[in-house]
Amino acid sequence: MTSVETAARSYRVLLERLPVRRIILVILSLVIAYGVIAGTVATLQTGRFTAEDWVDLFVAGVARGSVYAIIALGYTLVYGILFIINFAHGEVFMSGTFTAFFVAHALADQGLLNTYPVPALILLFVVSALVSMSIAVILERVAYRPLRGAPRLVPLITAIGASLFLQYTFRGFYGAQAKAYPNIDILQGNVPVAGFTIQRAQILVVAGAIILWLALYLVIERTRIGRAMRAVGEDREIAALMGIDVDRTIVSTFAIGGALAGAAGILFVQLFNSVFFFMGFFPGIKAFTAAVLGGIGSITGAALGGLVLGILEAVGPILFLTGIGVPSPNQLQPVVSFGILVLVLIFRPGGILGAPEEKRA
């Protein structure tokens, strides 16, 4: 071996030992951290926004985060049991909400929406949840069940196909135009809470989300079907050996996730009262992000992830970017939220509440 070769070799060894990844990681986190802190300080120094502005934004973030959280539950439930990303879940959310629009419209035409707001709202929840639930169950039957045991990318592609299929199906059914959900009068306007004014719709949304989350929690922890779901998620074969009907359990999981998505849709339209065939796409992706952020597979994680993401989206761009003179900071919202997601995952690869290093064959 010549000396040149030895030198080259030791150089290579050195190169291999050099923790390039670590270095990049540290630099990256420092840059992001610096940006966030400097931006925040600079923004606050401008005094451009009042305390009330921040509270308003925060509350709006919590409200939209609650909706993300409930949709995210659908991702998390399915992932927890089948380990697939149900990419079409956003469309499940859309299907119920869009269909319930026609009920809401009919009710509004009859004046029933404002004379009997509570029964009307409950009816909307039921219709939306039922439709979404049926779509989710059909989806499982047609697109996912034949693919159990296939590599994980395969159901992902069917999910994407199903997602397009559902979007265009509902576009074919109900048309391409955005439609406005009729407003419910008692949900309009603000109420004073602790010196600040909060919109009534936001209160309904947050309260509704809490109820839905609690209901799901109880189902998972306290009921037979919940136990079956946890067992199948743990080990499908052993669960089957223990006498659990795996197929039924999986269908129930999709049904519950779908119903939650449909219900979340009714909350969603109280905040943003327009529906159209493409409306499920972005909330779907955001809810998925929320589920991963919180730690996919964990229903507490989904709730936490949704809230964090919602608040981050509402407050983040203005807080971090205004101060450093970036024009149109809100346009860069995906940069901020995905940037933070990356940062979180670098330090906690399993999400905020996930296992630190999840292993899965």
Binding site: E16, V20, R21, I24, L25, L28, Y79, I85, F102, V142, A143, P146, L147, A150, P151, R152, L153, V154, P155, L156, I157, T158, I160, G161, A162, S163, L164, F165, L166, Q167, Y168, T169, G172, F173, Y174, G175, I285, F288, V292, I296, V326, P327, S328, Q331, L332, Q333, P334, V335, F338, G339, L341, V342, L345, I346, P349, G351, E358, K359, R360, A361
Partner: protein, 572 residues
């Protein structure tokens, strides 16, 4: 539902499918599309196929069950049940409309005109018997096919498919025939086959079929020709493929050449992503990031509206900053740097976490090129215009045909490199890592290093694709770099068969070429795309052209029944 006899369930399903097609507007829209001009419309063909399928299935043995005792009766009933359902639907809708509950207020496609199509203009109440009889007859036909000998069955299906392919491809074929100087009016008219044309297509199919049956298959037929051996058949096949690829743009028109260029681009992208997803097993949902980086790098470096030469959209410079061929290596360097920057921090993540993070990077890049923040450099919503075409000597590369050859060249190179990589040391390391990361690590493979390597190679190829895309369009616009591109490329890879190089080619042809050629289906393009995606994945989860080893794994090692397709250079 489960209590109902199977043939009733199948029939009901068929009926529901027709109602579905009506409600999404396909029946009405496809009623304008001729299959046999003036005689049969595509809408009617759709109904026919559904009823026949119902009859066919009803007469078959269910999965894991015994065949029905009276298949003909079952098929007949299945078709009739479907027809009755459709008829009832038409009547119900009309009654509702008469009662003041216009179905159109909710389902926009259920119009009186559409219902007339379903009743074949016989009026609302006659629609029930009309559809029932139609369903019964066609169901019977389907049932007959189901019980017929394989020979008859395949002959009939081939004749039907040939007619459909001929009619649906009519615009393309007539253009190709015009390119070859053959008149086509006797064959095609108003985008459908003429009656003469139908007879011709069916006739040729039957003749070919009859001839091949007599000869006992293509191979046998060839074998009997003296002087022909398997080996020189292969040589001749490849030679023919080569010649076809070489002269293709001159047979088809510029539009088809343009589509072929787009398909080529997607093959390039697919080959790149195949390294990341297929070889290394990293789930990347943000491949568009590199596509965008490539396009924008070339745009900024070569465009006449680039800030580098002090210009913008409305104030052009006489020349770009540099020549395309100089910009390409620079673009690849940029891609490598960005690939490492993105890859290094996140590649430790597993599976779905990596998916969402890469998706995030795709969105971040798209947002950045769109943003007001970088508008002075990247043009914001207006993008960058006046990107010169690829300079290739005396030729005008704005011509889709010249571009086709350029892209074909790069595809061939990438194809070759991809194949070599797969069976090289590095490819084997990827395979080990993909199968089991921990074991691979234990075997002394530096998992992170190989992951980054795969990611960066994918990035470089993606950038190359983006560079050609920008030069092809002559503009770089943020609207071109959406999540849908990432999804498309991933679908190309998975649908073709993960890790399979020919699979990428097949996947691109099916997912990119077909939808472009089927542009006339307009608003239903993505709808049909979704259906195809689901159908192929459900019926062929290993992909259309699977990698031999992957396919074996999927079916389970012990049960290799089908012969493994011979891959060029498959020396494992």
């Amino acid at each position: 539902m489960r209590r109902l006899p199977r043939y009733v369930r199948v029939g009901l399903l068929g009926g529901f499918i027709i109602i579905y097609l009506t409600a999404v507007g396909m029946i009405a829209a496809f009623h304008e599309r001729n299959i046999i001009t003036g005689v049969v419309q595509f809408s009617v063909v759709l109904m026919t196929l559904v009823y026949m399928a119902a009859g066919y299935l009803a007469a078959r043995a269910p999965k894991g069950g015994s065949p029905p005792l009276r298949p003909t009766r079952d098929a007949l009933i299945a078709g009739a049940v479907g027809g009755v359902l459709v008829g009832v639907f038409v009547i119900l809708m009309t009654v509702l409309a008469d009662a003041g509950y216009t179905p159109r207020d909710m389902f926009i496609a259920i119009t009186p005109a559409t219902l007339d199509i379903l009743s074949f203009d016989q009026g609302t109440y006659l629609s029930l018997p009309v559809q029932a009889v139609l369903g019964a007859v066609l169901g019977l036909a389907g049932g007959y096919l189901s019980t017929a000998t394989p020979n008859v069955r395949s002959t009939v299906t081939r004749a039907i498919s040939a007619t459909l392919i001929g009619a649906l491809g009519a615009p393309l074929f007539s253009v190709m025939m015009a390119g070859l100087g053959i008149p086509s009016r006797w064959l095609f008219r108003s985008e459908g086959l003429t009656i003469v044309g139908t007879v011709f297509v069916v006739g040729v199919t039957l003749l070919l079929r009859w001839y091949l049956l007599r000869a006992g298959g293509v191979r046998n037929a060839l074998d009997r020709v003296p002087g022909v051996t398997r080996k020189n058949v292969n040589v001749v096949t490849w030679a023919v493929v080569g010649v076809v690829l070489a002269v293709l743009p001159w047979i088809v028109n510029t539009f088809v050449s343009d589509v072929l260029g787009t398909v080529g681009l997607y093959i390039l992208l697919g080959l790149g992503l195949n390294i990341v997803v297929g070889y290394a097993g990293l789930l990347d949902l943000g491949y568009v990031a590199f596509y965008a980086v490539g396009a924008y790098s070339v745009a900024v470096l070569t465009a006449r509206s680039s800030f580098l030469v002090g210009a913008d959209v409305t104030n052009l410079a006489p020349d770009g900053f540099m020549n395309f061929w100089v910009a390409i290596p620079l673009t690849i360097v940029i891609a490598v740097i960005i690939g490492v920057l993105i890859g290094a921090p996140v590649l430790r993540l597993r599976g779905d976490y990596l998916a969402i993070v890469t998706l995030g990077f795709g969105e971040i890049i798209r947002t950045l090129v769109l943003s007001d923040w970088l508008k002075p450099y990247l043009g914001g919503p207006q993008g960058i215009t006046e990107i010169p075409s690829v300079p290739v000597g005396p030729f005008n590369a704005r011509d889709p045909r010249i571009l086709y050859y350029l892209i074909l060249g790069f595809v061939l190179v990438s194809y070759f490199v991809s194949t070599r990589l797969k069976y090289a040391r590095i490819g084997r390391a990827w395979a080990a890592m993909r199968e089991d990361e921990d074991v691979a690590e234990g075997m002394g493979i530096s998992v992170i290093k190989y992951k980054i390597l795969a990611f960066v190679m994918g990035a470089a190829v993606g950038c190359l694709g983006g560079a050609f895309f920008a030069a092809k369009l002559s503009v770089a616009n943020p609207g071109s770099f959406t999540l849908l591109v990432s999804i498309n490329v991933l679908a190309v890879v998975v649908l073709g068969g993960m890790g399979s190089i020919p699979g990428v080619v097949v996947g691109s042809l099916v997912l990119v070429g077909l939808p472009e050629l089927l542009r006339e289906f307009g608003e239903f393009r993505l709808h049909i795309y979704g259906i195809i995606l689901v159908a192929i994945m459900v019926f062929k989860p290993e992909g259309l052209f699977p990698d031999a080893r992957r396919a074996r794994e999927l079916r389970g090692e012990a049960t290799v029944k089908e012969p493994v397709p011979a891959l060029a250079g498959a020396a494992e």
